[in-house]
């Protein structure tokens, strides 16, 4: 899709959590902005707008992405998953049970990124976990419980084959 960089709006289709939405965007609007302001999915957070913190992480075709660094128009015809689409995931449950949540602001981004990690690397070791999660910042927990949550899900998945 070719769009000029203007303040004019265009309607584009976005597929989010299995549902299709027609949204009005400017070419400069980020995916994060559009998810939040146009579709009302506010689980993805804006904390730096610069790709530094991961609070805005969503899954694009299963891959974790900083939605603050992606334009809405780039997401057309991709499958987008936000935290609102992961209500029944084991990772979400593990974050609760492993005490990995304090203020909760980093939580949606972390859960999505951890979810992608265990899918992509079912055998992830400590080093892999730490490397993978470098893209997300948490100021409250000290990361210990977050790592525990990931390990818990990895173990569980292994047990359940």
């Amino acid at each position: 899709m070719i769009m000029s960089n203007t303040s004019k709006y265009t309607v584009i289709p976005l597929l989010v959590n299995g549902q299709s939405h027609d949204v009005m965007v400017r070419s400069a609007d980020t995916l994060l902005h559009t998810l939040r302001e146009q579709i009302g999915l506010t689980g993805a957070k804006h904390a730096c707008g610069n790709g530094d913190c991961g609070a805005c992480t969503v899954l694009v075709d299963g891959k974790p992405m900083h939605s603050c660094l992606m334009l809405a128009v780039e997401a057309v015809s991709e499958e987008i998953t936000t935290i609102e689409g992961l209500k029944h995931s084991e990772m979400r449950q593990a974050f609760v049970e492993q005490w990995a949540i304090q203020c909760g602001y980093c939580t949606p981004g972390f859960i999505l990124n951890c979810h992608a990690l265990v899918k992509e690397h079912p055998d992830a070791d400590d080093e892999k976990i730490e490397e993978w999660l470098q893209s997300n910042l948490c100021r409250c927990t000290g990361y210990y419980e977050i790592k525990q949550a990931v390990k818990f899900v990895l173990e569980m998945n292994k047990k359940n084959g």
């Binding site: 506010t42 957070k45 609102e84 909760g104």
Partner: protein, 785 residues
């Protein structure tokens, strides 16, 4: 009885906000989307110190969508929480790079941003004060020429006109001069670090709407809802009752959201557009450069001992860097003074604590309120002095640890009730970190392993009349709605308060529904959610409210059951006869009053209310500091073990130990979360965080890429947290505050371990490999060959 009350205090109940947070359902301030709202943006200063000759808004007005532009001359009055020294928008001069000089209100954020860039300010640059040491020099350029005329909002702030000193706090206990002269050995050292940032993941924002009937509706990411009301009343002349403040859950705060900065700006913005709803949101760079930050610090500590190694005299000179305005740094200056000795018994104390203006962003409270900083200086000194005395550093601490019967620097008398057990804490930390006579060893990979410890204390320096209230409203099903103005900022306070209510009412904690958001129209007054004071103040208020509710339940129950109130007991969702528990009535049958079978009624909705106010706290004497500044002292000890690579100066934190005496622990898991998160934050700051300023006083690292916080993998490989529970008679079920404490000893313990590893005294922060290399270089250069 059957429907299961179990003891909840001391139990790891799941946080009541965890599920909602895990699903992304929690609405933080930025998640409340309102169509038709206008957006404000600040235009900020491009000079660190300059006279404003003129502000030209003509080009900015041409940007489409702009509704209003506000400049400093429209409200040229200084405001502040302690000393009113800061105009919300710079007026006549700017004092830091990033200071707001104008607000633009527009339809869309990007329009406001475009317009902000088009504000043209004509500056006449002034000489810059670029460090706290420079600020203290006699001929330093003056940042506040009129500091003597500023209004003092609270006691205990003493500006020194004609200098850059915003406040000078003194402690004079015993006879320092004589004691110092009599000491058999002494030790002196100086410590320093720069300003840094809170960096809560949620940046600050506020919305304001002024209704035609005069009500001002504020939504804010604030720890201080009632302070906002007070400031709006004091400075905008608004009736307190007409200012309504809403606080949603916060995405982290760490003290940084205790300051009131955005709300007055948003008010001026809304006022300029006829009261329409206006939102002011800080992006990360603004949150770091324009909003208040964490203090910088310079300290000189002198300690002297007698023959037995007992501390006899201590002198402390603190330069607290406030930046351009004093805000809470003035209070931190006082807090650092009143606990200046650390948890050690020293009969002769002399302390000068100065709050210093510089041309840097201004500082406010940060988790620990001066204590992590002070502890870094004290605990480094204790280690170095122990070395000099050839004593084991832990033995030296134990020999001097403070105990009931001793007095604090302000001469408050310590009792078994108001102080935790310092000796027990350090002894346990010693075991957990596996301290040996030689804390340094070499691994088989050639890395140097070293350990460091720190002992610390802190009182809760609230205002002397700080208070909190709580309301318990009974629902028709017998469950309870708990309402109070404690802000949930990640610390788990709402869960703790629910547990306290459940324990006293002997109900299941799931039957307590806590209002998560604060709305000052319904919630009783609470001082602020800072200073580790909420469990103590709001917790006690909840207890009082529960007792009030129990009285009412018994009163109605006595009529319904045809007995006297004294015969009754409340528990397990029933009111029953003590001696015959099978006879009773369900609370749900009387929660809204009791209806007899014939239709007659008695009582009405049970509404328990309670208030807790600090008692017998005093301000401090201006000349000696004499006074009772806090209700209790929590104490703790921390230890850190590192592996340092002498080839490239990098290191890894292996272990972080925290032993805390916080009185009774209401919820061991939330408490552990606080301790882990606390030491993590302290280690992150100490190991890597600092604002870098260039010669023009401009921050060089104002974003999360260049401002180095710990990321996954940098954290300690192992965290150990233990509690020693010396109950406090005054606290709810014996609890003291703990929220800030995990952070306090981190920097000191890390610096102590690295000093042992490198054999060089690490007296500056942050301890980046480069800083270690520099300090080692300096030490090498200073050796005479």
């Amino acid at each position: 009885m059957q429907n299961g009350f179990h003891k909840t205090v001391g139990t790891a109940e799941q946080r009541i906000d965890a599920i909602e947070k895990s699903t992304g359902n929690v609405k933080y301030l930025g998640d409340k989307l309102t169509k038709g709202m206008l957006h404000a943006k600040v235009a900020t200063s491009t000079e660190a110190h300059a006279i404003i000759k003129s502000i030209n808004t003509m080009e900015a007005w041409k940007v489409p969508g702009v509704h209003a532009i506000v400049t400093g001359d429209m409200f040229p009055f200084p405001i502040g929480p302690i000393l009113a020294d800061r105009p919300p928008l710079a007026f006549k001069k700017v004092r830091y790079y990033g200071e707001p000089v104008a607000i633009i209100v527009a339809e869309h954020p990007y329009q406001a941003k475009q317009a902000a860039r088009k504000i043209i300010v004509d500056y006449e640059p002034l000489p810059i004060v670029n460090s706290v040491e420079q600020a203290f020099q006699k001929d330093a350029p003056l940042i506040h020429e009129q500091s003597g005329q500023y209004t003092k909002i609270i006691d205990n702030v003493y500006p020194v006109p004609g200098t850059n000193i915003a406040s000078h706090i003194k402690i004079r206990k015993g006879d320092f001069g004589q004691a110092w002269a009599a000491c058999t050995d002494t030790f002196t050292a100086t410590y320093s670090f720069n300003l840094s940032d809170h960096a809560a993941m949620e940046t600050r924002s506020a919305t304001v709407e002024i209704n035609p009937d005069g009500r001002v509706i504020v939504h804010s990411t604030s720890q201080s809802p009632y302070t906002i009301k007070k400031i709006f009343n004091q400075f905008f002349n608004l009736e307190v009752g007409k200012v309504i403040v809403h606080i949603p859950m916060l995405g982290g705060a760490f003290g940084g959201k205790g300051a009131v900065q955005l709300e007055p700006l948003a008010y001026l913005a809304s006022n300029a557009v006829g009261g329409k709803l206006v939102k002011l949101h800080f992006e990360r760079e603004e949150d770091m450069m324009t909003a208040p930050c964490h203090i910088g610090f310079n300290a000189t500590v002198k300690l002297g001992v007698n023959q037995e190694g007992k501390l006899m005299a201590g002198q402390y000179t603190f330069l607290i860097e406030a930046g351009a305005y004093s805000d809470q740094a003035a209070g931190i200056t006082r807090a650092a003074a009143l606990d200046c000795t650390g948890p050690y018994h020293i009969p002769n104390v002399w302390c000068d604590s100065y709050c210093m203006y510089t041309n840097h962003p201004y500082a406010t409270s940060f988790r620990g309120y001066g204590h992590p900083e002070l502890t870094f200086a004290i605990e480094r000194t204790m280690d170095q002095f122990a070395n000099k005395l050839k004593m084991d550093p832990i033995e030296f601490r134990l020999l001097n640890a403070i105990k009931p019967g001793h007095t604090t620097p302000t001469q408050s008398v310590l009792t078994v009730n108001n102080i935790g057990d310092a000796a027990k804490c350090i002894t346990r930390a010693k075991e957990l970190i596996e301290w040996t006579s030689d804390p340094v060893s070499t691994t088989k990979d050639g890395l140097i392993r070293a350990k460091g410890v720190a002992l610390f204390w802190k009182t809760s320096t609230t205002s002397t009349n700080a208070q909190a209230g709580a309301i318990l409203l009974f629902e028709p099903d017998g469950s309870v709605k708990l309402s109070c103005a404690a802000v949930e900022l990640g610390q788990g306070t709402k869960t703790i308060l629910a547990q306290i209510a459940a324990e006293r009412l002997k109900m299941d904690v799931s039957e307590i529904h806590v209002t998560m958001e604060v709305n000052t129209q319904y919630t009783p007054h609470q001082w602020r959610t800072v200073a580790s004071s909420t469990t103590f103040l709001a917790g006690n208020a909840v207890l009082a409210a529960a007792d009030d509710a129990i009285r009412q339940l018994k009163k109605i129950g006595a009529v319904a059951l045809q007995c006297s109130e004294e015969d009754l007991e409340v528990g397990n969702s029933r009111v029953y006869i003590k001696s015959d528990p099978m006879k009773g009535i369900a609370i749900k049958t009387i929660a809204l009053g009791y209806k007899f079978p014939d239709g007659h009624t008695v009582g009405g909705q049970v509404i328990g209310t309670g208030v807790k106010m600090q008692r017998q706290l005093t301000t401090m004497d201006k000349e000696t500091g004499f006074g009772d500044p806090g209700p209790w002292w929590s104490v703790g000890a921390q230890g850190v073990e590192i592996e340092w690579d002498e080839r490239n100066f990098t290191y890894k934190i292996i272990k972080a130990v925290t032993v805390m005496d916080g009185g009774t622990i209401i919820n061991p898991m939330t408490a552990t979360q606080q301790m882990r998160g606390g030491i993590f934050l302290g280690l992150s700051i100490a190991s890597g965080e600092s604002f870098e300023f260039n010669e023009q006083g401009v921050i060089q690292n104002p974003d999360l890429r260049t401002y180095q916080m710990m990321r996954m993998g940098d954290q300690p490989s192992e965290y150990i947290v233990e509690f020693i529970e010396t109950p406090s008679e005054d606290g709810p079920f014996g609890a003291r505050g703990i929220g800030e404490y995990g952070v306090i000893g981190a920097a000191a313990a890390l610096a102590n371990s690295l000093s042992s590893a490198t054999n060089v005294e690490m007296n500056k922060l942050p301890l980046t490999p480069e800083m270690i290399w520099r300090m080692k270089g300096e030490a090498y250069d200073s050796v005479q060959f």
